[in-house]
Symmetry: D2
Subunit: 438 residues, 4 copies
C-alpha cells in the first residue's frame, strides 16, 4: 500500500482558513435568500438540510484524464493506482462534502488485499458504492481473461467467453462485498457493426441468461444495475440499446435487477426525465450515471450543456420523494470523461451542479404544480418550474458545505491548495492508454 | 349509399389488355431470375407463392390528399365519403393484388349502416382490417363528443373526458365487429408542450386504466394495438412516447394488448429492426404502420427514403417465420400522408415496395447467415444480406401480380385507365380541412 | 376600421394599481441584487438600462391559437382580423414594455388602407417590424394568387408561378413601406418529398434568381432576410435547408440580403450559437426568430425547453456588442405557435425569457472570459458563464418594467385584467383553419 | 526498406485461376443484363467502361484495425509500417481493380526516403492521392512537434502551436510532392468541450489565417481540401463543424481551397446529397471521404447502413458529369475504421459498394428525370431513381473487374489466397495504440 500522502484539501484547518474570508458574505446572502424563500412559503433550512444529506458517488476511473479514439492528452499528476485515485476522491469529498463514496471498476482497481483498500478509504472518510465490471476490453495481463471480448461478452456466441465474463462479474461481487458495496453495475459493449452480424433475438436471450447466472451470486441485500446505451462501441446494434430492452431484461432476471440511466446514453431528442418516470412506474429505477452531452455519449461534466434537463430529472425524483417515496432510494453516481480539464475540478464542479439541480427541484411548490396540472393550466405549471429553476440557490449549496466543514468555494480552495502541483511532483507521467470511460 | 361507379382498373379485361404487351418480357425475365436463384439453391416459385399470399392493409384516410400544419394542397377527385374511399382502395387492390383489406378510421368513416358498408367493400373484393379510433381531434358535429380533447383523451385529468374517449373506442370495436375487423388500434396525441404541464406518472396511470376499460369490451378473438410515437402533436412529452412505454402498458392491460410499430415514430438514429426483435421476444409485436421518413413523422411512401431499413425489418420477420413462427401473425398496414402525389399512386407504389422488401428478405440463406453469426464473421454475414437486397426481385413481384390477374405494371395501368380523371369529373372539390394522418 | 376597444392592460392606472402591492419587495430585491453584483464589479443600473432598451418584435399571427397537422383546438376570444391582433400586441407591450413592434404577415394582414393600420398601431404605442410574405399556402380568395404553390414558389419550375411569388413579395415591400417597416423576411416551403422530385441545383438557381428580382424592389435602407429551415413542409429536401445555403444565396443576392436564424429550424444536436458566430463573421447575420424546441420545429415558447441555449445565443450577441459592435443591429422577433396556452400569455412569457437571457449574458465578465480562453482554462471559462446564467436576474427585469410603467408581474396583471374574457365576449369563435406559423 | 513479400493476390495467374470457374456464368449474366438494359435504351458497354475507369483512393491507415475510445481489438497480421500498408493496398487494388491510389497520413507514414516509397508503390501498381496531416494527436517521438495539440492546432490561442501545426502541414505538402500527390487534406480536431472554453469568432479567424499560410506553400497545381465534422474529438463546439464553415473558410483562403465531404461528419437527418449539390454550385466541392454511419462518425464500411444514400450522392455527381461537367473532378477516398473485420476485406467490399452506387446512378435516364421534374411529377421522378437503384448491377461490376484482370469475386479470391495467414506469420502483433481514423 502507498503511503498516505499529506492531502492539504483534506485538512479541516486549511478549509477553515479558506472559508474565513467568505463567511460573512455567505451569511448575508443566505439570510436574504431565506427571507425571499419565506415569502414563497419555503423554509430554507429544510432545503439546506436535504442538500446536506445528498451524496453522489465518484467513479474511481474519473480521476484520470480521459480521451477519445483519436487521442488522449494526459494531464499532470494522474493517479498511478487505486490508492492515488482514492486520495483524489478524498480531495473532492473534503471540498464539496457531497461525494462520500467511490464507485470502483474491475479489473482496473484490483488489489491483492481489499480489506486494506477499504480501510485506506475509510481513513479518508470514504466508502464504496456500486462496483463496475469491465468486459468491454481485453485484459491480457489478467490471468482470468484468456479469451477476447472482441465479439461480445455476456451475449457472445461462444459459451466459453460468456462463462469467462460471468465469472468476472461474480468476482466483482466478491470484491464489492469486501469493500462494503451493495450493487453491481453491468455495462457491456456487446453489439454489432454490420447488419446481419448478430442475431438480435439470440444475443438478447444469451445476455439475459448470463445475467441470471450472475444474479444467483448476489447476496440478498445486493442489487444488479443494468445500464443501457444506444451505441458505441458497437455502431449498428447494441444488445441493451435502450430502457425498453433494459426493462425487459430486468423483469426476466428478477427482483434484484433494475435499470440504470446514464444521461448520455440516449438517442437525440429523447425525453430522459420521462424515462425516469416510466422506470419509477415499473419499480425498476436503479439510479443514475450523471454527465452531460450535446451529441453522443460525450461524457461532459454534469450540467455543462443542458442544466435545465438535469433539473427536470431531479424534478421527477423529488416528486416521488415528496409523495409515495422510493421503496429503494436511487443510486447516484457521476460518470464522465475529463479530457481537457483537471479531473478533480470537473468532479467538484459536477457534484455541485447535481446538488444545484436537486436544490432547485426542492423549491417547486408541489401542491401548486398539481393544481395547475389538474386544471390544465400549462402556463402556470411551467412558470412554477421556471421560478424554481431561476432561483439562485448558490447560497444554500455553499451554506451546506460550510456547515459540514467543506469549502465555501471548492474550486478556489482546490487551486489554492497546490494539490495538483504536489501530485505532479510525486506521480509518474502516464502517457499510454485510453480513458476507458463508461 | 353511393352508386358503385364503374371502376375501370377493377375490370379484369382492362388489366388483361394492359398486361398483354408485357407478358413475354416478364416470362423471360422471370425464367432468367429463376435460373440465377437456382444457382444459389433458391426455388423462385416458393418465393413467388409467398409474395402472392402477402397482403398489406390500406388506410381509408390515405386515399385523400394529406397536408402539413402550413397548408394542404388538395388533389383532384378526392373521395367525398367512405364509399369513395373504398372505391379507390379497390383500384389499388385490383392493380397490385396486394391490398385486400381496408383499415377504417372513426368517426371519419362512420355510416348509418355498417352492414351495407361491409357489403359494398366485399362486392369490390375488399375486407376490413384494424379499426382506428380518433380522440386526437375534436368532433363537434358528432353528438358523442361534446368535450374537447385539447388537453388529452384517454389520459386526460378530467374523468368525464376519459369516459368520452373510452366510449368512442368501444363504439369503434362495435363498428369493427360489424365490418369483420379483429383489432382496434389506439393512437392518441396525449402529452404536453411544456415542462410541468403534465404529471408523467399520473398521466400514464390514467392511460393504462382507460385502455383496461376498453379492453373489457374486446371480443375474445380481438386484439388491441397500442401505437407509440416520440412526438407530435405534443412537443415536449407524449404519454406513449416509445416502445418501452407501449410495452409496459401492453403488459398491464393483458394478453389481448400488443404494440404496434409505425416506422416514422422513433427518435433519430434509432435501430427500428431491433425494436421489432425485442417486441417479438416479449410476445407483444402487434404489427406495423408502414411509411418512410427522413426527419420526423414525415409519413412518406414506404421505401422512398431508406429501402434498406425496410428490408432489415422484413429480415427480422422472415427470420421468425422461418424459425419458430409467430403465435399470431403481425398485422401489416400502410400509414402515409400523400401531400404531393396522387394518393392512389403512392399506395400502389408503397404496397409494391413493401412486397419488394419481403421478397428480398426471403432470399437470405438463413442457415448460412446463422453460420456466419455463430462464427463471428461479420463480413460474410453482411454480404449475405447485401446479396439478397441487391437482387432485383421485380420479376417475382410482377409475376405474382400477373398470376393473380393484377397489373404487371400497376402505375402505368392506373394512368392508362383514366380513373383519376373520372373522379375529378364526378367528385366535388374538397378545399378545407387537414390531412388527419396518424 | 374596428372600434378601438377599451384595453384594460393598456391603461397605465390599471398597471400602477397592480404594481402597488409589489413595489416594496421589488425595491428590496433589486437593491440586494445590486449589492451582490457590485461585489463582482458590475453596475446593476447599466444592466437595467440596457434591458430597458431591449425590444423584440411580436408576430401578428402569434396572437391566434396555432395547431398541428392533426388538429387545431381554438382558444377563446381569438382575434378576427389584424386590428384585433394589434390590440392583443398592445396588451403584451403594455405589460412587458419589451415588445414595441409588430411583424405582419401577408396576405393574412392585408387591409385596404395601410396608413390607417399604421395609425391605429401608433395610437396603441406600436410600430411595425419586418414584413413576412406567404407563398407557402395558396390564397384562392386573393386575386393576385391564381396559381398554386403546391410544387413551390420562388424556386418553382414554372416561370409564371415564380413571377406570381415575386410580385407578392414586392407587394409586401410596398405594404411595409407604408407601415414603416425596413425589412422583408422570406421564408418559403419549397422543396421535395421524394428523391428525384426536384433538381437541387436548378431549384437553388431559380430561388436565387427570384430573390435577386425581389431585391431590386428594395428601398435603399431596406434589408431582405433569408430564413432557412431543415425540413417541413417539405420532407425530403428543402431549397434553403441550412445556414450554408442561406449564406450562399445572401452572398449572391448582394449586400441588402442577410440570413435570419430561427432557433427551431436546425438538425438535431446542431450548435446554434456557433452558427450565429459564423454569420457574424460573414457579415450576414440578419437576426432571429425566437422560439424553443425539443424535437423539430416545435415552435414552443422561447426558453421553455433549453434556457441555457438561449443564454448562449445572447452570449454571442453581447460579445459583439461589447467589442466591435454590429454594423447593423440584428432584428429580434418571436415566432411561435401557441397550441395549448393563451397566446398573449405565451408571448408575454417569451418576451421575458428573451430579456432574461440577454440580462444574464450582460453579467459575463468579458475580460475575465477572454483571459480564461487565452490561457486554455476551460473550467474557469465555463464557471464564468455559469455564474452569469445562475444569477437570478428577475429583479432587474421587473425593475426595468416598473420604471417604464409596465407590469412588475405581467402574467398576474394580465389575468387580473379580464382582457381574455372581454375578448371572448366580443369576438366570434374561429373554428376553421390552421395555425399558419412560420 | 522491407523485402517485397510475395503477394499472391497480386499475381495475375492466381486471379485468372480464381476467375476460371466463374467466367461462364458471368458472361451469361452480363449478356442478359445487357439485353434488359437495351430494352430501356441503355448501352451496357458504356456503363461498364465508365465503371472500369472509376477509382477510389484507399487510406494507408485503413489497413490497420481501428478501435474506439473503449478498446482496440487487434486483428492478425496488421501492417507494421507504411511498406506493409502499401502491400495491403496492392492486394485490394489487384483484386478489385478499383483502388489505384493510396492516401497517406503524416507523421504516421513518414519515411526517410520518399522516392523509395513512391518507387515501391509504383512497383505494385499504386500511386499516391491526397496527403493528410495529423495535428489532432501529439507526436512526442517526432522532434517537429514539441508542443501539445491538447487545446487545438491551427486555431490554437498560442501562436507557437499554430506555427508548429502550419509547419507540419507544409512538410506534408513537401512529402506529397515527392510522392506525386496533388492535394493536402486538412482535418483538425480543434474545438471545445465546454461553453465558454473557446471564442468561436477568434478561433475561426485563427484557423483561416493558418490555412492561408499553408496555402502559400501549395504548388500551383495543388489543392487544399478542408474537411468539416460536426463533433468528436471536441464535444461542445468544433471550429470547422459543418459545410457552411468549411465554405466560408475555403472562400477566404482562395481558389486552391475547397471542401471535402465525409459522409459520417454530419448532424442526424441531414440531407448530404443536397450539400454535395450546394458545394458544386459554389464551385467548392473537393471530393469525398466515403464510409457509412448510423449514429455518429461510425466510420463503418461504405454502403453498409444506407446504400440508397450513397446512390443519391452519386446521382448528384453523375448529373454534373452528364451535364456541364466538373471543372476539376472530385477526389474519391475511403475513410473507415475497421474494428471487427479484416481491414482488407472491408476496403474491398467498400470499393465495390462505391462502384455499385456509381453504376446504378449511371442507369438513370437523365432526360426523363428532368422531364418529370419540370412537370412536377414526383411519382415518376422517384420511380426513375428506384428503377436504377433496384437494378442488380453486379454483373457490370464483375465484368469490369474481369476485363482488367482483377477478381470476379474479390472476397472469395482474397480468402482463397491465404494472404492474411501469411501476414500473421510474418508480421509482429501490434497490441498498443488506437485506430487513429479521421
Amino acid at each position: 500500500m502507498n503511503e498516505i500522502i499529506k492531502i492539504r484539501p483534506a485538512d479541516p484547518d486549511f478549509r477553515a482558513e479558506q472559508n474565513a474570508a467568505l463567511n460573512a458574505a455567505l451569511q448575508e446572502d443566505y439570510e436574504i435568500l431565506g427571507r425571499r424563500m419565506a415569502r414563497r412559503g419555503i423554509d430554507i433550512e429544510t432545503v439546506t438540510e436535504l442538500v446536506s444529506r445528498f451524496g453522489v458517488a465518484v467513479p474511481s476511473w474519473g480521476t484520470g484524464t480521459g480521451g477519445t479514439r483519436f487521442a488522449r492528452f494526459p494531464g499532470g499528476g494522474e493517479p498511478a493506482n487505486v490508492f492515488d485515485k482514492i486520495a483524489d476522491c478524498a480531495v473532492i469529498n473534503s471540498l464539496t462534502g457531497a461525494t462520500p463514496a467511490i464507485s470502483p471498476h474491475f479489473p482496473w482497481d484490483e488489489v491483492a488485499d481489499f480489506a486494506e483498500l477499504r480501510q485506506y478509504a475509510a481513513t479518508l472518510g470514504l466508502g464504496f458504492d456500486a462496483v463496475n465490471s469491465n468486459t468491454f476490453q481485453d485484459h491480457p495481463s489478467h490471468g482470468d481473461h484468456p479469451l477476447s471480448y472482441k465479439f461480445g461478452s455476456l451475449s457472445h456466441t461462444d459459451p466459453a467467453v460468456r462463462a469467462q465474463a460471468i465469472r468476472h462479474n461474480i468476482r466483482c461481487i466478491e470484491a464489492g462485498e469486501q469493500l462494503g458495496s451493495k450493487a453491481l453495475t453491468i455495462w457491456i459493449g456487446d453489439g454489432s457493426n454490420f447488419p446481419g452480424q448478430s442475431h438480435f433475438g439470440r444475443s438478447f436471450d444469451r445476455y439475459i441468461d448470463s445475467v441470471k447466472q450472475i444474479a444467483t451470486a448476489l447476496p440478498p441485500d445486493w442489487s444488479v444495475f443494468l445500464e443501457h446505451k444506444i451505441y458505441e462501441p458497437a455502431f449498428y446494434s447494441t444488445v441493451i440499446q435502450d430502457w425498453g430492452s433494459s426493462l425487459l431484461a430486468a423483469q426476466e432476471v428478477g427482483p434484484q435487477a433494475s435499470c440504470l440511466v446514464d444521461l448520455g446514453h440516449h438517442a437525440p431528442n429523447v425525453n430522459i426525465e420521462m424515462i425516469v418516470s416510466r422506470l419509477i412506474h415499473a419499480g425498476k429505477l436503479a439510479g443514475f450515471h450523471f454527465n452531460d452531452s450535446k451529441y453522443g455519449d460525450d461524457d461532459l461534466d454534469a450540467g455543462a450543456i443542458d442544466p435545465f434537463r438535469l433539473f427536470l430529472v431531479f424534478n421527477e425524483l423529488v416528486d416521488v420523494e415528496a409523495g409515495s417515496g422510493f421503496a429503494k432510494a436511487p443510486a447516484y453516481m457521476i460518470d464522465q470523461s475529463h479530457n481537457v480539464t483537471d479531473p478533480i475540478e470537473s468532479l467538484i464542479s459536477s457534484a455541485i451542479e447535481i446538488q444545484r439541480a436537486y436544490a432547485q427541484a426542492l423549491l417547486v411548490d408541489r401542491a401548486a404544480l398539481v393544481g395547475f396540472q389538474d386544471t390544465n393550466d400549462p402556463m402556470m405549471a411551467n412558470q412554477e418550474l421556471k421560478r424554481a429553476f431561476t432561483t439562485d440557490v448558490a447560497p444554500i449549496l455553499a451554506m451546506a458545505r460550510a456547515r459540514e466543514g467543506a469549502a465555501i468555494e471548492p474550486l478556489a480552495a482546490y487551486r489554492a491548495s497546490g494539490y495538483r502541483q504536489a501530485c505532479i511532483a510525486r506521480r509518474p507521467v502516464r502517457t499510454a492508454g485510453g480513458g476507458g470511460i463508461v
